[in-house]
């Protein structure tokens, strides 16, 4: 699988209208580039962007597509259960690029970006904590938000939210 580059046309990002001034305009942000590299090329693609002037990794998060497998992806990208979403920011060019990597459920592992962007340390720990995606090469792969002995990864779609039964004061009991 090769890295698919290109702008994200299909994914519902509207065009920025040319209208300015005090007239109405669409709420869209400037168009963001979205790249779909394969998992094994992911670090190299990010490295290329870093060398190309993307100084900061603004955000890293994961998505569990368990109950929404039919999302639109460019040709050649095989959808997997998890998706890793990395938002890189170039301050010099005032540009963003979003990198979406497919991570299969059977092998929920990805390479860590800590060597490239030390600031992803906490974000990767968060993705591990809430989704169970393990980042190889991460120096401190521990839970960050949940207690150490927590079981499961709550932002997975098959992790139930749980319910607390409501008890009404003074409600008639079973007779």
């Amino acid at each position: 699988m090769t890295a698919e580059r290109g702008t994200d046309v299909a994914d519902g990002e509207p065009e920025v209208s040319g209208a300015g001034g005090s007239s109405t305009r669409t709420a869209a942000r400037p168009r963001q580039d979205v790249v779909f590299p394969a998992r094994d090329q992911y670090v190299e693609v990010v490295r290329g962007y870093r060398d190309g002037g993307f100084e900061m990794c603004a955000d890293l998060c994961a998505v569990d597509y368990l109950t929404h497998p039919g999302r639109r992806l460019p040709d050649g990208v095989v959808p997997a259960r998890f998706e890793l979403v990395v938002n890189l920011l170039s301050l010099s060019q005032a540009r963003r690029v979003r990198i979406r990597v497919q991570v299969p459920e059977s092998d929920a592992v990805a390479s860590s970006l800590v060597e490239l962007y030390p600031g992803v340390e906490a974000m990767e720990r968060e993705a591990y904590d809430l989704f169970g995606i393990v980042f190889t090469g991460h120096p401190d792969m521990t839970r960050i938000l949940l207690p150490e002995d927590w079981e499961g990864h709550p932002l997975r779609k098959d992790y139930g939210v749980g319910r607390v039964p409501v008890q009404f004061k003074g409600a008639p009991g079973p007779r």
Partner: protein, 483 residues
Amino acid sequence: MSEAEPTPHPEDPDAQGSVPHIDTVQPPPVSGDAFLSPAPDGTPKGLIIETSEGSQELSARSTTDAGELRREVGAVLRLPEGVAIDPSDIDVERSDDETMIINMGPQHPSTHGVLRLMLELDGETVLRTKPVIGYLHTGMEKTAEELTYVQGSTNVTRMDYLSPLHNELVLSLAVEALLGVEMPPRSDWIRMLLVELNRVSSHLMWMATNGMDIGSTSMMIYGFREREMILAFFEKTTGLRMNHNFIRPGGTAADLPDGWEDDVTIICDTVLPRTDEYDELLTGQPVFRQRSEGIGTLSAEEALALSLTGPILRSTGVPWDLRRAMPYLRYDEVDFDVIVGTFGDNFDRYSIRLNEIRESIRIIRQVVEKMPTGDYRVQDKKVTPPPRGRIDESMEALIHHFKVFTEGFRVPEGEVYVATESPRGELGCYLVSDGSPKPYRMHIRGPSFVNLQGLPLMMRGGLLADAVAVCSSVDPVMGEVDR
């Protein structure tokens, strides 16, 4: 006293439990590779194995290997170019007896919530720091998947509780970007007015607590006094002092109240001269300057590598403000300056926030001048419920109103990342929609969460007494850190 009182012998093993000792032997931190090797007995990787991980706490020097020690000493920092920290500078041979690991928080008044810091000290000098977070984690990103887009802003507004309107704004902008609706100009200007007022109130709150942290109790009273004026205006406008749920996808909940121009002008006319009083109280005061100049310094490369944003990044001299660099709302139509520091220390961060109050007031005055007339929410029937008056007249309007609030509106399939400049830095929202009335995934990029990563580096080599000041100058809001 009485001789019968048994004094525990120092060597008595039973007495160990009563002795408070801090650095119990921690298992060495597990790196990610450890998960890949199969369990010794060949059992498949089960849930327990996957989720029983290393300790989140700072481990003692003797159980930490040299590489890990270097990493922790230099924060998480291994800069790509390796310029920031010279690893040979770090004394990994130092024995455990010379250092002490102490625990600060989570119930510490100066940690601004429930932040826990583990500090390794050599005398009074801080060597390693590790923030331990999660005490306020309530799973708000999971909750967001259960709420419709209409209800979503009630959820996000509770994240960064000092600037709730910024949270509502970023969610609304993300939803509107997916919807592709055209926003009426007045709603943009109303949002800008509220968001800038909120920035002033948030910075005032920071000035108050920062003053408190370094011993200026007067500043604490002044900061709360001025903030109260702004909260009173918010209460008049939105009905609530905090957690407004006022900026919603599709506009705002209501128009501004009558006479808002006068209220806002009074706020501006009061707060602006009072910033000069703060100058007198703090900026020119030798004690304050000594406690903030050169404390918690950071270079621009370090700030960028650690993804720090907001006043922390600007204090290192990087003129990065999303309002200027990637304008949203109508920030390209107002005139304001981006405040930039030089040394990246506590004093720069203080000056930046103080001057950002002045710049925000400048923006607010322009908003009052330029406020257009028109709708305060988008007239798209799919998004906006009919006005209250129509409900009494029309059955269809009643049904429509009911549908919008019970079922919600559908947002086209897609994903978007929207970022705004909150008082603490880049506040981003990554939103995935599967076409239903509820977000498939909503992720908030909290600036405090990321900014906390700068703490170990900023505190390294400083005094324990300054740790409180450094922590305060990062301005973490734990509601947003833990979400």
